[in-house]
Symmetry: C2
Subunit: 342 residues, 2 copies
């Protein structure tokens, strides 16, 4: 209602608009006495800066962008994203930055969004998720000069600033766990192979199963519950049958558990299940799921801090956030001594 502007404050304080601007932005050019007076009046009038005006003149939007190239369905199913967004928000909220969130169908639309944002000066920087192998977004962002923090392994980031969790180490931990329980045949229900994280884990899985002399198979999916279930069914009906399955997210692990139960098998007696991205899901199933747990909210917050740093002039670098921690719950145990059809 009040529509308080800097001009009004200037009038009341008997100084110029410019002086008020300096005072409010904590910049040199005004005496402490004046600054205090201005701040007091601004507070009294409940002045709030007009974002558009500031943005127009300062060429800063105080907005970060996040594009999610996933179907609405995936976004609903996977708790991951909301957690990540929540983490971003928690940091931006207190800096009074805003988040521009856009959900698109595919990478091309994502690129178009970046181009549009860059042209509109809509965002100061972007957070890029679901990094791919040889990700086409990297050259585009470079060309646009749009500051960005990539969420993913430095091996995928091509020198751009990134934040990552050590998926390879986590995969090793998971395989060490099942191997030490005595499993000799394992399976991996993975996400889409073009995703960087999946690729990293594929490599690690390959290496670790060889190191541990495990018989191994990998089943790629689209991360959905449906394909997680199908892949699980495939694993359970193949010969020799795996006695432990490692999933790339928790949704597929839960779906897998359901398939196991539907076939009349028991966990962990008949089969060991290990999930990734430990959300509440893993704790509310029966039995509870052993999972590679990491703090997704914290991850989102971390990435956001990196982007803020970057805009503040920090030198771009990759930043290891954490290594997912193996939380052992009820879904993992020794393999059955008598193998089915083995």
């Amino acid at each position: 209602m009040s529509r308080v502007t800097i001009k009004e404050i200037a009038r009341r304080c008997g100084v110029s608009q410019g002086a008020v601007s300096y005072a409010l932005n904590n910049q040199p050019g005004v005496s402490e006495a004046t600054r205090a007076r201005v701040l007091k009046v601004a507070a009294e009038l409940e002045w709030v800066p007009n974002r558009a005006a500031r943005q127009l003149s300062a060429a800063r939007s105080e907005t970060f962008g996040l594009v999610l190239a996933r179907t609405a369905q995936t976004l609903i199913e996977e708790p991951y994203f909301m957690g990540f967004v929540g983490g971003i928000e928690s940091v931006l909220g207190e800096k009074s930055y805003a988040l521009a969130l856009q959900v698109v169908a595919d990478l091309d639309e994502e690129l178009a969004t970046y181009r549009k944002w860059a042209a509109e000066r809509r965002v100061d920087g972007v957070i890029v998720v679901d990094l791919r192998v040889a990700d086409p977004r990297i050259p585009v962002l470079r060309k646009l000069g749009l500051p960005a923090v990539l969420v993913g392994d430095p091996a995928l980031a091509d020198g751009m600033p990134c934040a990552w969790t050590d998926g390879a180490a986590a995969m090793n931990a998971a395989l060490d766990h099942v191997a030490s329980l005595g499993h000799r045949v394992v399976a991996r229900v993975a996400g889409p192979p073009e995703f960087g994280d999946v690729w990293i884990r594929d490599q690690a899985y390959e290496l670790a199963t060889r190191r541990l002399a495990l018989s191994a198979s990998t089943h790629h999916t689209d991360y959905s519950a449906t394909q997680g279930a199908t892949a699980t069914r495939d694993v359970l009906t193949s010969n020799p049958r795996a006695t432990a399955i490692i999933y790339d997210n928790d949704l597929m692990a839960v779906a897998g558990l359901s398939v196991v139960q539907g076939l009349g098998l028991r966990t962990p007696d008949d089969i060991t299940l290990v999930a990734w991205d430990d959300s509440a899901l893993c704790r509310i199933t029966h039995p509870t799921l052993t999972a590679l747990s990491h703090n997704i909210v914290g991850y989102g917050a971390e990435v956001t801090h990196r982007l803020l740093d970057l805009l503040a002039g920090a030198t771009p670098q990759s930043h290891l956030y954490s290594t997912p921690l193996l939380i052992i719950r009820d879904s993992s145990g020794p393999p059955p001594t008598v193998r089915l059809r083995g």
Copy 2:
């Protein structure tokens, strides 16, 4: 980087800035010939309007606001919100509107956010979720003159424009279902009583159980998996024991299923479970969960359309989106003939 402005277009077309603005905004005041020429040049130069500038002069932000007063944890756990946000986005995206999303701790912070947004002219309108009984946000939004669409029953909206799903009808359907299966003792694991939706359902539950002459109890929770599990345990150990439980969301239903299995009971043989907000969760458990299903993505889209209409000058009104549909799956069946401790 081209940084194409309206001025540049004007120069190239040999007309004034103002004329270009009229042409680009499809407003009268320029000839068709000129308009065509301007549009052609604008397209060639790949001109994109600068949001800030437009916002500053037109006093429209082309942004809607959504505040979620929930803990980050709830947001991660409940698939509901991401779906809703996805629905909003799907509409806003094509109108090139933006969504300002803010996650806060409580209602007071939510109110503060509205005040700030109104003062900053940050948003053109807001979408208000988690409507309460005698919601304090309603008078504040009225006073701020901030256009809003409330998500909830007209009985709670106090005359403000709203969009809702018929929770009472859904509750009736659920109780008719379990009653027709032969259940005589039912329980309801509900959300927090101060939430309007919960209140509506409480009323409907009360009426319907009386109508059907069912013995009934209600257990209020905070919607979390933990409290859903606790409430389920309470239900299962009370005497006479309910043979059917109706949950207020799917997360608690899944948690409840896990408790049931943990106690060595079977579903639906020993107990019938009915969930609300049918997300993927209900289909990936074993057994699959009978649920009151509604299209949350569509709901978000609907609400957004209502807000757009409102800003376009439509008369405020309440709008019934749909009635949740009872999807019968494996978790509901006749009650056990021999009651435990009954």
